[in-house]
Amino acid sequence: MSHRRINLRINGMDHEVEVDPEDILLDVLRERLNYTGTKKGCDGTGECGACTVLLDGKAVYSCLILAMDAVGKEITTIEDLARGTDLHRIQKAFLECGAVQCGFCTPGMILTAKALLDENPKASEKEIKEAIRGNLCRCTGYVKIVEAIQHAGENYGK
């Protein structure tokens, strides 16, 4: 037994895909299912955060999850946030605050922010920085990213 047909529930939709045990969720998302919003920034060793997705609402590195272990979970990628051209409030905040430069860390950052704000919309600056500790950014110095997350947290969920 190697190859298996599994169902992955991504962004509220079922996806049937054939995988081998060693197939990593990040690669299956990007290469097989075209969810290229999730990025790969390190050698699949959980070092950069660009591959962050939500698994049952919790931020994880998709480069460290076997596709087979993601069966039965609700996977959320960045593609799930906007509704057509209507951006999620966190995405809007990132644009308004100038928190996007090259954009590579952005999907992972936004999902980590979402996981944080869903749990704690009044997160302080310190708590925000702690939460995004696992998301590296080379362009912004994090300053406007933290501002954007704070901004998005105002009236969150209302």
Binding site: G41, C42, D43, T45, E47, C48, C97, G98, V100, Q101, C102, G103, I128, K129, E130, I132, R133, G134, N135, L136, C137, R138, C139, T140, G141, Y142, V143, K144, I145, V146
Partner: protein, 564 residues
Amino acid sequence: MQMRIIYICVALAVKCSGRPVKVVHNREEDLVCDTIRHPARIHLKTGVKKDGTITARQCLLYLNNGAYTHHGDLVAGAIGVVFSGVYKTPHLKYDANLVYTNTPYGGPCRGFGNVQITFAVESHMDDIAKGIDMDPVELRLRNAVSEGDETARGTRVGRCGLKECVRRASQEIGWELKRKSDKAGRKVKGVGIACGNHWCGWRTGFDANVWRTGYQDPTKLYQEDPASPFIRVREDGKVGWRDYFEQELYDSDASSCILTVNEDGTVIIQVGDPEIGQGLKTTVAMIGAEELGVAIEDVKIVGVDTDSGAFGIGSYSSRVTLVLGNAVMDAARKAKASLFDIASRMLGVDKNELVARNRRISIKHDPDQYVLLGDVAFRAYSRREGGELVFHGYHDPDSTIPDKRTGQGTISSTWSYFAQAAEVEVDKVTGEVKLLGIRSAHDVGRLINPLGAEGQVEGAVHQGIGYTFFEELEWQDQGRTRNANLLNYRIATAEEMCPVTPMFIETDDPKGPFGAKGLGEPASVAVAPAIANAIENAIGCRIRKLPITPDKILNALKSRGKED
């Protein structure tokens, strides 16, 4: 990192396979094989009078070139150019050596040599200040260049906000009070400042023949490929370049764009330089929109496409706002002139009476008389006498190629200036340095996109902080990189950033679009010396080797006999 050989490999792969080709480096390859910032060893000697006036400066530079030369010579040249333009230095000697080592090879990296030399020069300036018992801010203000000064390279300084930047940065960090604060106890605070300049474009003058053929010497090319179309054998049997292919230096720093005003008054601008996240598209759209009097949403920027005909040297050297911005101004002015031609007929006035604003073309002294820009544009397309609205914009700055031997000449038509001040707290028992804040003051000529400009400063300071404290490729015997991953080659996380305060000084530089200068690299340049100077203020020890680590702090304290 910039590795031109990759482009050739990709092109060949496409040619052989007939398929689209994508090249991806994994992170290990990136950290081991791609170009790195040149490590440098710098010796400085400065002659200075008791009143603080610099009389002479000598610099001997060794760059660790790595295994191959890839921009090493250009970085060495750039250093010579840039550091001679900060202070008035009547006599300047600069010698640079590239040393081959069995380590990853150096290439362009934000700052391009300016980071290394500024660490040395600005640390040295504080040493000088201490030696003559002068305040470091005062020493800098005394020697900083001003508009009209001539630098050691024979170039005249243009719009220059250097002194203002030094004043602002020192003021904002609380220089007067904090410099002399109590330095007793286990944890001590200190402030430091560093300043510099940076180019806004770069007329490199590299050898075009090498660029086009890979060879400097036609006889060597002939040996490899006698049938090369670039060479010919003359009657006397000597091999030379083919006719009209003379040895030449690449004497251009141009960018261009193609601007189209659509029939509804919206605008498309095809640019020749790439958006890499620095905000080129937004800045350029703002310039075009401002000039044409339309809203920024009306302007669509089409990115770089080698099929498009818009040429640009590239997004580097902090050149894009100035050079591409000017090219867009050029095209926008041409567009406006054509639109005004049509509008003047519609409104029955001379075109000098017209102004473009808010999607309208109106009469200056009677703004209630106007035509919609969209209607003017439509006429251009719909009438026999109209004419198309497609314009080429081009700008080549009035810089000159520096002489390789004397260094005379200016690579950039204007220069940006900046000063960065840092506040630190040093724990004298653990050696840990806590960064309390960075104030970064920049002469930007004219601020076009404030949010984007702040982002550039904040991001560049992040790199400066990494350069100062954490980032070090660890090589061991035989040049093996042992920390080729992002866990052990550490860039700052959000928790490791201190508050960063960008400040902008507008000097309205006539060389740039609406007076703007470049800002891509400057904020990465003076962070390390500002921090090193702040540490010196706190504990009286000068750290001369980066990165600054706790063990270096404790060793320095020990040698001063000051360890608690």
